[in-house]
């Protein structure tokens, strides 16, 4: 029996299968369809200090082998998260990662400072793909300096592992991973969605109200793999791979190019039991290929 457990920054995951932020809410609805205790971990919907209403509809549209979303980081805010959502989450036997999104560096720090006291939260994922209100809406995620500073300052207020979730909409993602490492980050999550859009050819209006949205799903898998490979070849930091994983085969592929663990997003909407099926698929793959420990797969590409 292969050992599927993995270890990142001192944190143990029972297997490398995590559910991605924004694609499982706070865990309760998807629990109707799947056994969350069988998964390596859950990353909660991006939290901001105060509740956010999010963008007006339409928020989503399908594209070839993908979807665009512009949810607008709708979330209940830190306070209600602790009061209303943690009680369900703390009962789960899986690793809980809390994703934080903010519009100022101070807000990232403040959220982390408050949430670090919650025992049931094992680590933080910092979503830097948010517009920076100070710099007039430019994304933190495209700004090397900002990513470095966020890592450093957030790290200063918590002893728990910090993963920085990187934007793929940059020329060299490994430069960002390098800065995360230099500033004490414990790992990177890659990738967030690609910027995309779609228009109705009769009304000439955007199919999502926000005009642009984030592209996810199988369409982006080749890009995610290339970004992860680029990080792996250039920076020695644990990578949580994300992007277009639909089944265990995609999961193996993302580990081969460098991921220590991975997250599944869009597939949850189509098959809410996908995570558990991937765990089973990985077990069989490991057995058939004489892999003792799944971490042997990480970065095992043959180039």
């Amino acid at each position: 029996m292969a050992d599927l457990s993995i270890n990142i920054a001192g944190l143990r995951f029972k297997n490398p299968v995590l559910l991605a932020s924004g694609t499982v809410g706070y865990g309760n609805e998807i629990a109707e369809f799947t056994d969350l205790n069988k998964l390596g971990g859950i990353v909660t919907k991006s939290l901001s200090l105060k509740p956010r209403k999010g963008n007006p509809p339409p928020r989503i549209t399908e594209t070839p082998s993908g979807m665009l979303n512009a949810i607008g980081l709708a979330n209940v805010g830190v306070e209600s998260f602790i009061k209303d959502k943690i009680p369900f989450l703390k009962k789960l036997d899986t690793t809980l990662i809390c994703n934080i999104a903010a519009s100022t560096i101070e807000e990232y720090v403040e959220c982390t400072r408050i949430l670090t006291h919650e025992e049931s939260i094992h680590a933080f994922e910092i979503n830097v793909s948010c517009p920076n209100v100070r710099e007039g809406g430019l994304e933190f995620g495209n700004d090397l300096n900002a990513v470095g500073r966020i890592t450093e300052k957030v790290k200063a207020v918590t002893k728990k592992p910090i993963f920085i979730k990187l934007s793929p909409n940059v020329s060299r993602i490994s430069d960002f991973a390098k800065l995360v490492k230099e500033n004490g980050g414990d790992g990177v999550s890659a990738i967030n969605t690609l910027v995309g859009t779609a228009f109705d050819i009769y009304t000439r209006k955007p199919k999502i109200k926000n005009v642009t949205g984030g592209l996810s799903g199988p369409a982006i898998k080749p890009v995610a793999l290339a970004k992860i490979l680029e990080i792996k070849r250039n920076v020695d930091i644990p990578i949580i791979g994300i992007g277009g994983i639909m089944d265990w085969k995609d999961a193996v592929e993302i580990m081969i190019v460098g991921a220590s663990a991975f997250q599944i997003g869009t597939v949850n909407f189509i098959n809410p039991n996908a995570g558990v099926e991937i765990v089973d698929g990985l077990k069989t793959y490991c057995e058939q290929n004489s892999i003792q420990n799944i971490s042997e797969l990480t970065g095992s590409y043959q180039i």
Binding site: E29, P57, T266
Partner: protein, 252 residues
């Protein structure tokens, strides 16, 4: 709620572009309430990627019925299913109609394929309730009466029944109905629902509407389907808090 691989029992072309499909789905069938829907994976591969939401039209024992028209690639693929082939259903989803108490006459107001949820509602209404079904469509061939009782039609081109919209038909019929203690159940395109909502709010009529919008998951995890409530700061979700809402409670 279940994910159920459902065998197609039969598929029937009701009119030019409209189909009724019957599938075996015992687990879901045992739970359904009128007004609920299923989110359906129409292919075994990733084209199309997302599920497609469809109202549960009717239930017969272990079988579910869906009424649909060909809209894009997803519905085209369903229309080509043959008996013995499969659809993958996720459901039953959403809150259904609140139809048990508090009124004597059910007034169904449906535009186009908005009739879909009403055969089951009609069937499940207790025998002592009166039902009137007002159906609107562009033309005669868009009027689907499957499973409905006491039907009056309205067509834009006058080719069947009342010449005009179904909301105008309701306004005409209301003098007969309004003597009763009635509740309106409505489903259809958003412009129709808007007109109906305005009319019902102005007249303080009891009205439940079933709303459509783009969906990804169908059960509350993607936040893709927000709708603005009349009261409150945060959006409701059409898939989880709806698709049926009190006409007074939401902004269309």
């Amino acid at each position: 709620m279940y994910v159920e691989k459902s065998k197609v029992e039969s598929i029937q072309k009701i009119s030019e572009n409209i189909f009724l499909i019957k599938v075996l789905a015992p687990s879901i069938a045992s739970l359904v309430k009128p007004g609920q829907f299923c989110n359906i994976k129409v292919s075994e591969n990733s084209f199309p990627l997302l599920r497609r939401p469809f109202s549960i039209c009717d239930v017969e024992g272990d079988y579910l019925f869906f009424l649909f028209d060909i809209h894009g690639e997803g519905t085209k693929l369903i229309s080509k299913k043959k008996p013995g082939e499969f659809l993958e259903l996720l459901g039953p989803l959403g809150k259904g109609f609140n139809y048990n108490d508090g009124y004597d006459t059910a007034v169904i107001v449906a535009g186009g394929l908005g009739v879909a949820p009403f055969p089951l509602l009609s069937k499940n209404l207790s025998a002592n309730k009166k039902v009137i079904s007002l159906l609107g469509g562009r033309s005669k061939k868009n009027i689907v009466t499957y499973g409905l009782k006491n039907v009056l039609a309205a067509t834009d081109d006058g080719s069947e029944g009342f010449h005009g919209t179904v909301v105008e038909l309701l306004k005409r019929e209301i003098k007969n109905i309004s003597k009763d203690n009635f509740r309106i159940f409505a489903c259809g395109p958003t412009p129709m629902l808007k007109a109906l909502q305005k009319y019902c709010v102005e007249n303080n009529y009891d009205c439940q509407i079933s709303v459509e919008c783009a969906m990804a998951c169908g059960f509350g995890i993607c936040q893709g389907c927000p709708i603005d409530p009349v009261n409150g700061d945060s959006y409701l979700l059409v898939c989880k808090d709806g698709p049926v809402f009190d006409a007074k409670s939401i902004k269309l």
